[in-house]
């Protein structure tokens, strides 16, 4: 009796492994590749020469002043997609309050003329994944003047571009309004020239 049970356990493990671990993901892959190939392969953005610039869904690092900057990231050295991570620092952690958040606030004040105490909450904090592709509309608005100044274009023109790239809540009420940093920066490059010194160095 017991031996029969053990055999059933072994056989059931193998059978279910084949069905759920082989056939099921196989079927899903075939269907996904047939119906939604772009999404199934990572929503990749490519240049005209076929080079991959990134994924529309994954944040990437920007530090030059002519671009909008993403949120601080704890993934590897910042936006490392093979090392997704948050800081996992708790609410009473000294490093979080006095190093990470203070630095982010200082940089918003110095670079973007933010008022201390009025720095948008997503601008000063790291995301859960370290790969957050979005910033809040308030965060983007805070950076508009810097980007316009560096590129030598009007604040209104940049503001209009940001408005165009602001995603509302999905179906009107799901989630929060947001701005995809990569798509906004790509639009910047195609609408306006890059920073004068960046063009000169080429």
């Amino acid at each position: 009796m017991l031996r029969k049970q053990i055999w059933s356990a072994i056989a059931m493990t193998i059978v279910l492994m084949i069905i759920t671990g082989g056939i099921y993901p196989g079927v899903v892959t075939v269907l996904a590749q047939l119906i939604f190939p772009h999404q199934a392969n990572g929503s990749l953005i490519t240049t005209s020469t076929g080079q991959v610039t990134g994924s529309a869904l994954i944040g990437q690092g920007f530090s030059k002043p002519e671009y909008f900057h993403p949120r601080p990231s704890a993934a590897g050295n910042g936006y490392d997609d093979t090392a997704s991570s948050g800081t996992n620092k708790g609410p009473t952690d000294r490093k979080l309050a006095d190093t990470l958040i203070r630095q982010a606030v200082d940089s918003a004040v110095v670079q973007d003329g933010a008022v201390r105490g009025k720095v948008p909450s997503d601008m000063a904090t790291s995301s859960a994944s370290g790969l957050d592709p979005d910033i809040s509309p308030a965060n983007a608005a805070q950076q508009v003047a810097r980007v316009a100044r560096t590129r030598g274009v009007s604040v209104d023109a940049v503001r209009a571009l940001v408005a165009n790239h602001t995603l509302g809540r999905q179906f009107g009420f799901f989630g929060e309004p947001r701005v995809n940093v990569l798509s906004l920066n790509l639009a910047l490059d195609s609408s306006f020239r890059r920073a004068p010194e960046a063009t000169a160095s080429k």
């Binding site: 059933s8 493990t13 279910l16 997503d122």
Partner: protein, 571 residues
């Protein structure tokens, strides 16, 4: 807190209510054997596995079948992870998983915990993810459902002592329930941007000219069962916060609905099985009240934010454009409301997937997931496990009510006597014993303190959360704790096994004992289990049992940290 945040919470509640009955009716058809469209495949499986589908098992036999199946599948996965480097589908050339980590991962996935001390994108091959981890997602979920259905049979049958056939329940749950639902959900995910491929990692050249390696893999298929099976083990390190696992607010909504849909439906199905639909709804109501209380506390705490961070210059007041609150460890697309909602749901159930980092929540925001787990994950709960955990509490409630009026307690016509209560108490006591003893030992050992990422009371919370999560088979974490050490891999792995099997055995015994009891007709002295009074009493018993056991530990962690945060103290 914003009006739109509350709108999303209410919309979720309405959606959950709407899917409960249809899901419950479907579950009834799956487990009573009347659904037949895959009968030929079923027959082949029974023949290969040497199963007689007509056999009705005694509870001892049912329990040994569960244990044998779990032991075998655990062993297979351990071996497969150790041999990962020689097995196929390994484009990123991941090496063998270290022994202690392979043990912990195998136990963790076998027990529906999915605690992960590894980081998926740098540890696991596609083969391991698919054939081992995703397989366990299905198998442990189907086994949990089987256990709950067996208990429901025990309650509903008249002096039988037999509670069904584990192999049949297992097969039918996998074929008719989890696979079809997962295929549909996976495709909905892919449409929104969840990836599903077998490519090697893609190297991108970013706009500023840096290199960014994009991780790939069969994510959507695993994501779907991870939610539906309340497993929670992510393909990537940051789980459902990673944009390739959870790209949009819509996928986020589908994910949290997928966590509760089967447990909620099962409560309704249970009512039908024991021929008392109103009792099913009474349990549903108690669960909903506890869920709503949890999400309210968590949302309020996270939306109020952290006064220390405000004093460093952060604007924690929400507006139409600024998320405000505590955004540390949260994603912009989800914001405060969806992060609090997700954290509440994933710990009400035994899912443990996360879309935000619980470790970085405010003390009271983080207290909610921790307390949810410590109440036994019976608020809708894990698939199957939530219902059987809840029925144990119901039995205790009926027992206490019986003591108060001085009559022999009955539950649905079955007398509750010492052996039933003994099994229920065993179930209730093993749980905190594992959590509190492991936590206490860990704070005394250098090896236990070495893995901490935070000092002060928050460090203690990390340890308490780890053992609550593993014993509760949840799998979420205060993820700062480094679980990848000999000490933690071993102790946490053991905690998952205790939390699953040392608790399931008394539960099966309870099912068997109840099944043996004759059905007695209801009398005027029978405590009704369909009234608001019952709902209130049930909630009271759950909260009192939970609070008496865990309040001292919680006081040393989140409670004291909340007071310290208000005083601006840092560690």
């Amino acid at each position: 807190m914003t009006a739109n945040g509350w709108l999303q919470i209410f919309f979720y509640s309405v959606a959950l209510l709407a899917v409960t009955k249809p899901m419950g009716l479907y579950l009834l058809k799956v487990y009573d054997g009347s659904m037949r469209w895959l009968a030929p495949i079923e027959r082949i499986i029974y023949r290969v596995c040497g199963v007689d589908p007509e056999e009705d098992q005694h509870w001892t036999r049912y329990a040994t079948a569960v244990l044998f199946f779990s032991a075998v599948s655990l062993l297979v996965t351990y071996v497969a992870l150790r041999l990962q480097h020689v097995l196929p589908l390994n484009p990123a050339n991941r090496g063998a998983v270290p022994d202690r980590q392979a043990f912990e991962t195998a136990s963790s996935f076998t027990t529906n915990t999915n605690w992960q001390s590894y980081s998926g994108e740098t540890t696991m091959s596609y083969f391991s993810q698919m054939t081992q981890l995703a397989f366990h997602n299905f198998a442990s979920a189907a086994a949990g459902m089987a256990a709950a259905v067996a208990l429901a049979r025990g309650v509903s049958r008249k002096s039988a002592g037999r509670i069904g056939n584990f192999w049949v329940d297992m097969t039918r749950g996998t074929l008719y329930l989890f696979i079809p639902m997962s295929i549909v959900l996976a495709l909905l995910f892919v449409q929104q941007g969840v990836i599903q491929n077998f490519h090697s990692y893609v190297t991108a050249t970013t706009v500023e000219g840096a290199k960014q390696v994009l991780a790939m893999g069969p994510v959507a298929s695993q994501e779907a069962i991870k939610q539906l099976g309340t497993n929670g083990g992510g393909f990537f390190n940051t789980n459902s916060a990673h944009p390739f696992e959870n790209p949009t607010p819509w996928t986020n909504f589908l994910q949290i609905l997928a966590i509760f849909i089967i447990p909620a439906g099962l409560v309704y199905a249970y009512g039908r099985m024991v021929k008392n639909v109103r009792h099913g709804w009474a349990i549903w109501a108690a669960m909903y009240v506890l869920f709503f209380a949890g999400v309210t506390v968590a949302y309020r705490a996270e939306a109020r934010g952290n006064p220390i961070h405000a004093s460093r210059g952060v604007d924690i007041v929400a507006s139409e454009t600024n998320p405000g609150g505590n955004m540390e460890g949260k994603e912009v697309r989800f914001g405060i409301a969806n992060s609090a909602l997700y954290a509440t749901i994933t710990t009400d159930a035994s899912c443990g997937c996360v879309n935000s980092m619980h470790d970085s929540f405010t003390p009271l925001g983080g207290l909610v997931p921790l307390a949810n787990i410590q109440l036994g994950e019976i608020i809708f709960g894990g698939v199957g496990a939530g219902l059987y955990g809840m029925i144990v509490m119901v039995v205790l409630t009926v027992f206490i009510a019986g003591l108060m009026v001085g009559r022999t307690p009955e539950y649905l016509g079955k007398k509750i006597q010492s052996r039933e209560v003994r099994m229920a108490m065993l179930y209730v006591l093993i749980f905190p014993a594992s959590i509190l003893l492991f936590s206490a030992v860990s704070v005394l050992l250098p090896a236990g303190l070495k893995g901490l990422n935070n000092a002060g009371p928050h460090g203690f919370s990390e340890i308490l959360y780890a053992f609550s999560s593993t014993t509760g088979n949840n799998g979420s974490a205060f993820a700062g704790l480094t679980g990848a050490s000999y000490y933690y891999n071993t102790t946490l792995g053991l905690a998952t096994l205790i939390g699953r099997f040392a608790m399931q055995v008394p539960m099966f015994a309870l099912a068997g004992f109840l099944a043996e009891r004759k059905q007695a007709p209801e009398t005027a002295g029978t405590f009704p289990v369909t009234t608001p009074l019952f709902v209130v009493l049930l909630i009271g018993v759950i909260l009192i049992v939970g609070a008496l056991t865990f309040f001292p530990a919680l006081a040393l962690g989140p409670v004291v940290e909340h007071l310290l945060m208000g005083a601006g103290k840092l560690y």
